[in-house]
Amino acid sequence: MLAWRGVRGLVLLGVCGVAACAEPLVDGTFTQAEWDFAQSFRIDRLATPECRFCVSADAGQQLFFDPRLSGEIIADGEGALGALGESGKVACASCHDPQRWFVDQRSKPNGSSLGTGWTKRNTIGIVNSAYLTAFTWDGAASRLEDVLEIPVTSPAALHSSHAIIASVVRTHYAGLVTAFGPTTGSDDELYQRAARALAAYQTQLRTGPAPLDRYLAGDYTAIPDEAKRGLQVFIGRGLCSECHNGPLLTDECFYNTGVPQRGLHVPATDPGRFGVSQDARDLGAFRTPMLRQIAETGPYMHTGELATLADVIDFYRWGGSPSGFSGTKDQRLIPLEIDDDDASALDAFLHTLTGEPIAAALTTRPILP
């Protein structure tokens, strides 16, 4: 009898002990460790970027919409912005469409983008790029004012030159000529002023808090329950946050995720980051894109092959493509331990990353000088 009484007493004591250790879940969903890590996604944790050339931001917006910066068109066909050989038809805004979160949605289903010709990669978004330290898919530029060099020298983007840019600035942008002090008026100097002006404009293209940010700040009604589960998968078994982390949901590093070189205008091979670093390990590696407003910025991947987020999730769910890509796929790209519900939840989560649209004043084509 005493033994039985002892058992009963200890069981009661133990139940109380375990109950006291029940795990407190944030919003009934997240462990404290998960929640603490998710706080690192809040965009309000970002410091406002320095706007070194803001005096020329208005001119930069005009330049962004100005097709006179471009050279001869080398590709025609459906969607072409002009006839073969025509100049002055393609602006930055042609591919970075301000009405489409500054990406090129014409490329569906073509994959790559159409500037003066077919580019070899899908247009990457530029919203919030002021926070970045590496630009374009392969990180060819490390400062925002250096980015212009890439489309200018690309035959398929602007197909332009310093001389053409300088000529446009010299002829139409008198204010820009004097914006940064005395000038000798050389082509390179005027080109640099144009590049700085464009950088100033891009610095203003920043989004505010998205539903995710409001949720992480404590508004538990800001996102649906499915998205909360998606966030849990995102930072857990989905492995997404291995690369997509921080307020912009990018680590700005370069990975070969096994995206096949496939598409009507996509080259059979692409060196990716290797083209910049010359490091063999970077062959076929591309920069982790930001995920802010990702639901609005398809098509996805550097080839623009995947039209929807569901496609992207499915791509990673099965560990990327087994073949058809340049270089060696990252070893972590193996089939994920997620199911259909997880995939659906991830999709829902990714739809909570879209903040308020960029102010209309910044997305509207200004009167060109």
């Binding site: 058992v7 069981v11 375990v18 250790c21 795990e23 462990t31 291995e242 982390n245 070893q331 972590r332």
Partner: protein, 475 residues
């Protein structure tokens, strides 16, 4: 040394009743039919001839009684011979109830690489802190849930942190002396589990005592480990505690092989050669049939000092090719010290320390013969996992009443366990366990145990364990 495995359970127990009653063997001499009754006396004065007839009849009846007595003796001998047949099978059932904090798992992913640095190439979800077996809920060491654990393939309990009743095991222990120093022993456990019920053959070996004067037992088959002392009483009917220590995974395995155990005075020695290491199969699945050219050798030496009923001090070690790969030169080693104090004023103490290493092997090394492995271009510890570990425990108990034995255990384990980019465990676990062992009847014991888990150097998460066990055995 007297074997303390399941054979002992059988040999020292009372009569079991599960075995069917054997049919008696035929007797050597058949009883004669009863004599006819003597005729009614016509004359009250018997004649000498009648008296002689009566005497003959009485002598004949006395002879018959002697035959009957001989038959009874023969029958008794037969019964005596058959009693062991009724005793060589012991059945036990271990049922319990448990509740584990959190999600029932002893590990958590290092979300966002916030605690374990220098391993950013392994996805954070696969970098695990804690100990996957720290939430064990029964004598088999099954965790309440494996959570995010990746080294343990099967979530046999899968409680997800909910309290639950469980049938820990239905066990059949077999042990019988065949004669001429030969005996056999076996242990089979049936495990009702969610999804699919499991059957596990824990022991299956032949024992041979070559000499009546030398206390030497040679065994072959699926045998007990020889490392340390905890393995000796690891099954539910014999275990003092409900759950094993954190180091039992390294010393409580039951590999295929041969072993010898010798007792000479106060010295006990055991040596085994086995197909693989002595790890518990739950922690590391054994390749039970040969996978290497070279076996694993393990040994244990123990001295009994005259303290209490005996202070046993031992040292053990093991070395051999690492499991999980085929190259003989990729090795693992283990050593440990153990101590057991027996009944010093009712106090028993167990203590063990172990350290070991599995060397591991990365992809690209010279393992082309490793047909079972797919060569991979990178991955440190990719072909064979890397493991380094240290662990220790102290378990003390005091019998305060014949039926009541409270106990306390403190155990600690530090380990790093990596398999390529598949997983990395970084364990610095400390546990404190308190419980009572209650002898309810001669064939029924109950145990209640509470374990507080502490993760050293990383954020805590709820994974304390309350677990109970009631074991009823036919012996």
């Amino acid at each position: 040394m007297r074997r303390l495995g399941i054979l002992t359970i059988v040999a020292t127990s009372g009569v079991a009743h599960a075995w069917p009653e054997p049919a008696p063997e035929p007797t050597a001499v058949a009883p004669e039919p009863a004599p006819e009754p003597a005729p009614e006396p016509v004359d009250p004065i018997p004649t000498p001839a009648e008296l002689a007839a009566r005497i003959d009849a009485l002598e004949q009846r006395a002879g018959n009684a002697e035959l009957v007595e001989q038959n009874v003796e023969t029958l008794a001998e037969t019964v005596h011979t058959l009693v062991p047949l009724r005793r060589f099978l012991t059945i036990y059932i271990d049922v319990g109830w448990f509740h584990v904090g959190g999600n029932g798992a002893g590990v958590r992913s290092d979300v966002g690489h916030r605690n374990i640095r220098d391993f950013d190439d392994i996805p954070a979800d696969w970098v695990l802190v804690g100990d996957p077996l720290s939430t064990a809920i029964n004598s088999r060491g099954e965790p309440a849930d494996i959570g995010a654990a990746r080294a343990i393939a099967t979530d046999t309990v899968n409680s997800d942190g909910n309290p639950s009743f469980i049938v820990n095991a239905l066990g059949l222990a077999i042990g019988r002396t065949i004669g001429r120093g030969i005996s056999i022993a076996g242990l089979v456990e049936f495990l009702p589990r969610p999804g699919a019920d499991l059957t596990e053959v824990g022991l299956a070996h032949i024992d041979y005592r070559p000499s009546r004067t030398l206390d030497l037992v040679l065994s072959a088959g699926k045998i007990d480990s020889v490392l340390g002392v905890e393995y000796r009483a690891q099954d539910a009917p014999r275990r003092l505690t409900v759950t094993p220590s954190l180091l039992c995974r390294y010393t409580c395995g039951r590999p295929f092989g041969v072993q010898g155990r010798l007792t000479r005075g106060r010295l006990l020695a055991a040596l085994s050669l086995t197909n693989g290491d002595n790890f518990n199969e739950r922690f590391e699945i054994d390749e039970q049939t040969g996978y290497h050219l070279v076996p694993t050798a393990a040994a244990h030496l123990q001295w009994i000092l005259p303290v209490g009923q005996g202070l046993e001090v031992g040292v053990s070690g093991a070395a051999g090719p690492q499991d999980g790969q085929s190259a003989s030169h990729v090795h693992q080693w283990h050593y440990g010290f153990d101590l057991r104090l027996r009944d010093l004023r009712g106090v028993d103490v167990y203590a063990e320390f172990v350290q070991g290493k599995q060397q591991g092997s990365s992809a690209g090394a010279a393992h082309a013969a490793d047909a079972m492995m797919v060569p991979s271009p990178v991955a440190h510890c990719g072909i064979a996992q890397c493991l380094t570990y240290k662990a220790a425990y102290v378990l003390a108990s005091k019998r305060v009443r014949p039926w009541l034995t409270p106990y306390a255990r403190v155990d600690w384990r530090g380990a790093r366990h990596q398999r390529g980019l598949d997983f990395l465990y970084v364990t610095r676990a400390l546990r404190a366990t308190a419980g009572v062992h209650l002898v309810m009847t001669s064939r029924m014991i109950a145990k209640v145990e509470y374990t507080a888990n502490v993760e050293l150097g990383t954020p805590q998460f709820p994974n304390n364990v309350l677990t109970t066990s009631v074991v009823v055995s036919t012996d």
